[in-house]
């Protein structure tokens, strides 16, 4: 999933692809303006009026989660590395059990608009909200950069745009669309965009999976055998070890990645605030159950897509899939099962899957921008700066200005960040979420003694440790693929910081709690528990 310049897609019908891209833009803009007329209050803007059903929000959560990195990246990794490409998706799925069992319903009952609301319920407002807002923004920006860098190369690739100037233009256009969605549509518009995208993605994936399976008479063993043979790697293609764990450092690096994937999801702010869009905790639970079903089936299908691409499309050196680092595996497979290059069926399927990928990018960047803007307006402006005395109107104005500002910053950062590896940025976002956010959320819910200093220690400790370890890892310096290939300050051997930074975040929470003499937060623990478990006094849906 490298973002370096890739070979453009020379095949397919470019006019058709562009027409479908424009259709996606038109539909999503229509949804946005419809939603902007429906949105009146802060609850509408931040939480979509809490009026989405469990199924609707389940689709939206899935839409937020199945980013271009997982749609194109995982099938591409399977196409190139076989079995090892499948490992990402397992961590991504199992992670939902943490959200289901420990976080979703309790958060829905005890919070309001942002992740910080939940922590701030029994803590001192200013330090906890500032820490939570900083970590929300850092995680969201890493994730946002991954999506925007991906958008630049991907849309360029799918439309056959090669020049760096035009690629930058694509990034700017994606950024402008995302600002429009978030500024005008708020959570209501963004959620509907996610729902439309999730339905498109599932339908497209089911169709291509079905067409692949038909070619192999629904015999999985045949599919795997052909993929292994065509990959040129034989048996090894179906076994662990082509991508991860080649030596001892590699094995620990993989373990570190696996931990961040499974513990990161329940600490991702853009996923957490989705649970506020449902009217009750019961609906929040249903939305996670739907998400587990949808995301699980989706990853099972990417297994077929990845091995299907390996079996049916060339993946050797110099092939389009290899030079695109796997990102083109799904679109090219769609073309192949539609009849092949130059056929009408092949061109149509290629254009449809490209449009699905485009819709995916637009929806995910909108969700991330909204999360950051909400945290700036609700946590930093209304509660830290104005001490809870801001009017709803001024808070919403700040949210819209923040969406604009974050969008602009994301565009400016994404243009030079095109050298960075997308998978690395996503993995870093997960590592920070698992190290900084998850310890604070879990301690707050389940440890009475936990207090303000514990919360700020775990958030800052986990965040700083994760970022420091990556800075001194081979990702940044010491190897030819590093960000600074000529420098050598890579004293931490692992590319993934989770193995150290996650336990460190948990440890900081304990240390901070024990050295503080604060008792107020423990006095409110019973109140928070009752609220979280029963939903007594929880925020209600808006009735228009």
């Amino acid at each position: 999933m490298s973002a370096t310049m890739l070979v453009p897609l020379a095949t397919g019908n470019r006019t058709l692809t562009i027409a479908l891209f424009l259709a996606v833009v038109a539909v999503t803009l229509y949804i946005t303006f419809w939603a902007s007329r429906q949105s009146k209050t802060a609850t509408d803007y931040y939480a979509g009026g809490r009026s989405f059903s469990g199924f609707q929000n389940g689709l939206a959560v899935s839409g937020d989660y199945m980013s271009a990195a997982s749609f194109l990246g995982i099938s591409g990794a399977i196409a190139l590395y076989g079995y090892d490409g499948f490992l990402y998706s397992i961590g991504f799925l199992v992670a939902w059990l943490v959200a289901l069992l420990l976080i979703a319903e309790l958060l829905r009952n005890s919070g309001r608009y942002t992740m910080a609301d939940q922590l701030a319920y029994r803590m001192r407002q200013t330090p906890v909200r500032s820490a939570a807002a900083i970590s929300t923004i850092v995680v969201s920006i890493f994730y946002l950069l991954a999506q925007m860098v991906g958008a630049g190369s991907l849309v360029g690739l799918l439309l056959g745009v090669t020049s760096p100037g035009l690629k930058n233009l694509v990034i700017v256009l994606v950024g402008v669309l995302m600002i429009i969605y978030v500024t005008f549509g708020g959570m209501k518009g963004t959620t509907w965009v996610q729902i439309v995208k999730a339905v498109m993605l599932m339908l497209g994936t089911v169709l291509i999976t079905f067409l692949v399976l038909v070619q192999f008479g629904f015999n999985l063993s045949d599919l795997l055998g052909t993929a292994a043979e065509k990959s040129g790697k034989g048996e090894a293609f179906l076994q662990p070890g082509l991508l991860y764990g080649k030596d001892l450092v590699g094995k620990f690096d993989f373990t570190s990645l696996a931990l961040a994937l499974v513990l990161g999801t329940a600490g991702l702010p853009h996923i957490l605030i989705r649970f506020y869009t449902t009217p009750t905790a019961h609906a929040a639970r249903k939305s996670v159950l739907w998400a587990i079903g949808l995301i699980g089936s989706f990853y099972l299908m990417t297994l077929v897509l990845g091995f299907g691409a390996a079996a049916l499309v060339p993946t050797g050196d110099g092939s389009q899939i290899k030079t695109s680092a796997g990102n083109l595996a799904s679109p090219l497979l769609a073309q192949a099962v539609g009849g092949g290059e130059g056929t009408i069926g092949g061109s149509i399927l290629l254009a449809v899957i490209s449009a699905v990928a485009f819709a995916t990018i637009l929806a995910v960047v909108a969700g991330l921008t909204l999360t950051s803007a909400s945290s700036v307006a609700h946590d930093l402006y209304a509660n830290v700066f104005k001490k809870g005395q801001a009017s709803e109107k001024s808070e919403l104005l700040v949210a819209r200005i923040a969406a604009f500002g974050i969008g602009a910053v994301a565009i400016l950062l994404a243009i030079p960040a095109q050298r960075l590896n997308i998978a690395f940025l996503v993995a870093l976002a997960f590592a920070v979420a698992a190290s900084a956010n998850l310890p604070a959320l879990l301690y707050n819910l389940f440890w009475k003694r936990f207090n303000t200093m514990g919360a700020t220690f775990s958030i800052y400790g986990g965040l700083i440790m994760a970022v420091l370890l990556v800075t001194f890892s081979p990702v940044v310096s010491g190897t030819p693929e590093s960000l600074f290939p000529s420098a050598n300050f890579d004293w931490f051997p692992l590319r993934n910081p989770g193995l150290i930074s996650i336990p460190f975040g948990f440890l900081c929470g304990i240390v901070g709690t024990l050295i503080s003499k604060e008792t107020h937060s423990a006095e409110r623990y019973d109140e928070l528990s009752v609220r979280a478990l029963t939903g007594a006094g929880a925020e209600k849906a808006v009735v228009h």
Binding site: R112, R531, L533
Partner: protein
């Protein structure tokens, strides 16, 4: 209203609640129904979390350090590694299903009873 002498707390959402709400919350926290709800929730959620995390970590460890075992063929071209991976999907779906059933049968009735009590006591 909240006590203005402690502005660091006084701006929080919980501080804007009427004092009576705090009393009701604390009363409910001591009731046997709530203690039972909390116990039922934790007795499911904590062991289940330990179980799926151990099962997942075992899978990761086998990928790293039990390669011969993982490479064993089960049927046709399908090996232990793939079956183990697919079993992670099965266990995830199963735990989600059992939690949903447990919540519906054992947690929801108690939670809604206590919620009604809160609404009645606070006049909502």
């Amino acid at each position: 209203m909240a006590d203005r002498s402690t502005p660091a707390y006084g701006s929080g959402e919980a501080d804007r609640l009427p004092a009576h709400d705090h009393e009701v919350y604390n009363t409910i926290a001591q009731e046997s129904d709530f203690v039972e709800l909390n116990r039922r929730y934790r007795n499911f959620a904590f062991p289940a979390t330990i179980a799926f995390m151990s099962w997942y970590i075992l899978y990761i460890v086998c990928n790293n350090w039990a390669r011969d075992f993982m490479d064993t063929k089960v049927v046709g071209n399908i090996n232990v590694a793939l079956v183990f991976g697919l079993l992670q999907f099965v266990s995830t779906f199963a735990i989600a299903y059992f939690y949903a059933r447990h919540a519906r049968k054992s947690l929801d009735p108690l939670a809604s009873k206590l919620r009604d009590e809160f609404d009645r006591e606070t006049g909502r």
